[in-house]
């Protein structure tokens, strides 16, 4: 029998690395539907899960894929689904059910060009705001964004851990280039930390399914048949899990779905800083765009321009504090992303006019030419001096 954690050094693409990350984190159930450029995740995990005692199930669509993932989680499993483009749109309904019922699971989106069928085989980062706001109603979101196959592995593990810690679906918002690029992936079992599902803190009869702890997260999750007789509903519910359809219950539950993230934000936010200390211009970016940006940073430094980079490995919750702290010290921020300007809106809100903010939009289909990002950097410098 093959190992669950594939220790060693491998040559994997980002999709395959996501699948291995899921296995390493303890994923026992994958429900998915084929779609480019995600399919390699499903293909890899359909080969691997049977080897380690798990179940792969190819569902009839993306709606059922995420529904089965939620069902698997309530059956006591660590469960995952993955998709791209239109499939992500189809998953929005039951992503909301997962948020409302506080179901730990992982949803990976290997982003491609949209809207609609768009660019099935080509890259974009156009779903970043959909990740935040895609399902109806208010809720909080955690979205991790890898820039390499190595990070695809690591952040998938982290997504599972955060899903257990925060009792909610966690998004991994990768993109087609990271999904399809092959690179070295080092898997060291010693360095992998696994968070297991919390058992209920009280016996049946005393346990309340949605009673939050001090961290605002429900305290433990029984599986089907554990004797807790849980009631799990997408309706607005009280701490017992019973539907109570009024303003008071809504006013208690819904803010907590957001506050449990802001309350634990320090344990969630993960930003990599590159050459920040003396930087006058800071590139704020994520995913594959960070790799084009690193090229631009090098070109700028060669020209003597003091440029640094903040790479957001967690885009949601947006690390506004990290930017605010730098806003008074720098001339401006440059925000390259493979969309027409989505996360730049968050940067503008965080910076709040205290420094220049320049979007470097790109509709997708290719990644940024570092020269384009450099030109934007030079433009901001020109205005600043």
């Amino acid at each position: 029998m093959a190992e669950r954690i594939l220790a060693g050094t491998h040559f994997l693409n980002g999709d395959e690395a996501c699948a291995e990350g899921a296995l390493a984190a303890g994923c026992d159930l994958f429900a998915g539907y084929p779609i480019t450029p995600q399919s390699e995740i499903a293909e890899r995990i359909s080969r691997r899960l049977p080897q380690v005692g798990g179940v792969f199930i190819q569902m009839e669509d993306e709606i059922s894929s995420i529904a089965a993932t939620l069902g698997g989680a309530w059956g006591g499993k660590k469960a995952m689904t993955a998709t791209s483009g239109p499939g992500f749109s189809l998953m929005m309904e039951n992503l909301g059910l997962g948020m409302m019922t506080e179901t730990p699971c992982v949803l990976i989106n290997i982003q491609r060009g949209g809207p609609s069928t768009g660019l099935p085989t080509l890259v974009a980062q156009g779903d970043m705001m959909q990740a935040r706001w895609g399902s109806h109603g208010d809720y909080g979101v955690v979205a991790l964004v890898p820039s390499s196959p190595q990070e695809a592995f690591e952040l998938t593990v982290r997504a599972f851990n955060l899903s257990e810690m925060l009792r909610m679906p966690i998004l991994v918002m990768a993109d087609e280039v990271v999904g399809h690029m092959f690179e070295r992936v080092v898997i060291d079992p010693e360095s992998i930390e696994i968070v297991e599902r919390k058992a209920p803190n009280k016996p049946p009869g005393e346990f309340l399914l949605y009673e939050p702890g001090e961290d605002l997260v429900p305290q433990g999750m029984p599986a089907l048949g554990d004797g807790y007789r849980v009631h799990v509903t997408g309706l607005t519910h009280d701490e017992r899990g019973y539907p109570v359809l009024n303003e008071e219950t809504q006013g208690k539950l819904i803010p907590r779905l957001r506050n449990k993230i802001t309350h634990n934000i320090e344990a969630i936010v993960d930003v990599e800083e590159t050459e920040i200390d003396d930087a006058e211009i800071v590139i704020v970016t994520y995913g594959i765009s960070a790799r084009s940006s690193l090229g631009a940073l090098r070109l700028a430094r060669e020209k003597g321009l003091k440029v640094g980079m903040l790479r957001l490995r967690t885009v949601w919750p947006f690390p506004a504090d990290v930017l605010q702290e730098k806003a008074d010290r720098v001339a401006g921020f440059v925000v390259p992303e493979l969309n027409l300007g989505q996360i730049v809106l968050e940067v503008e809100r965080a910076v709040c006019g205290r420094a220049a903010v320049k979007s470097v939009p790109h509709a997708g289909g290719e990644i940024h030419d570092p020269g384009t990002i450099l030109a934007a950097i030079e433009e901001v410098f020109a205005h600043a001096h």
Binding site: A31, P50, G76, L97, G225
Partner: protein
Amino acid sequence: MLTKAKPAPAGEVLENVSHPMERFLRADRLPHIWCSGCGLGTVLSCFTYALDDLGLTDADVGVVSGIGCTGRAAGYLNLDSYHTTHGRAIPFATGLAVARPDKKVVVISGDGDLFAIGGNHFIHAARRNVDMTVICVNNFNYGMTGGQVGPTTPIGSRATTAPYGNYENPFNLPYLAASSGAVYVARWTSLHARRLKEAMIEAITMPGFTFVEAVCPCPTNYGRRNRLGEGLDELKYYAEKSVIKHGADPADADLLPGNDVLVGRFIQKERPTFLQAYEHQILDKQHFVKPQAMQNQNHVRLSGATATDGKAAS
């Protein structure tokens, strides 16, 4: 606990009376939201009696519902119960059943939920033969939202979105279930309480995707708009029109206004479940180790089972 009560005079509230199957009900959630004359209470009651006869406890069975009047069933059962989104009860239950093959998973939902918005999930779960029982309460319309036309509304019947009468052909649910691969297919009405309970017992006992249609009155919406009278009048109609025919061809089970209502156990034919096929065709052949839960597959305690011997219905 008193279990028997004489009928109360109109307006009198009965005290200290509890349902004999109260242990399966969340008494703190009662009274339920269902209308007087609706068949849902009967179906839920039949289900609890079926669990009792099977000797199942709250540790053995989970119930999944979608949205609608029947969707509220999960919330009244004192079991692990999951009230999902509209149409998605079956795929949610698929994940649950695959994760816990040692438990019984039952979907209780309505005709609109299971066969309009959820129709694709139904046929695929049946095709895969995922080990679950689906109980469909068919009341021929969307009751919760006020009586709109649905995928089982008979031709000519009126609904709020079919004000001149429905002109779309409805699904014949047993035929759809059978042709999609369900291993057990039965139809009864809420009049046939004992038969319905027995069908539930057979369906829950049999491994694989099993289907029970419970035809029910909806006097508030469907009945009123189609001049069918009170709920009791609809039950009288079932009494007059029902024809019990075990082993009948589900293709002949169309429900047409004024025609006979064909009821009975139509299909009972075992084939490997999703996980049995996975186990035999993948795990055994590849010499992979079976997951822990699968080693207990289909060993749910069925102490009081009166049910199926697994042979085809005659």
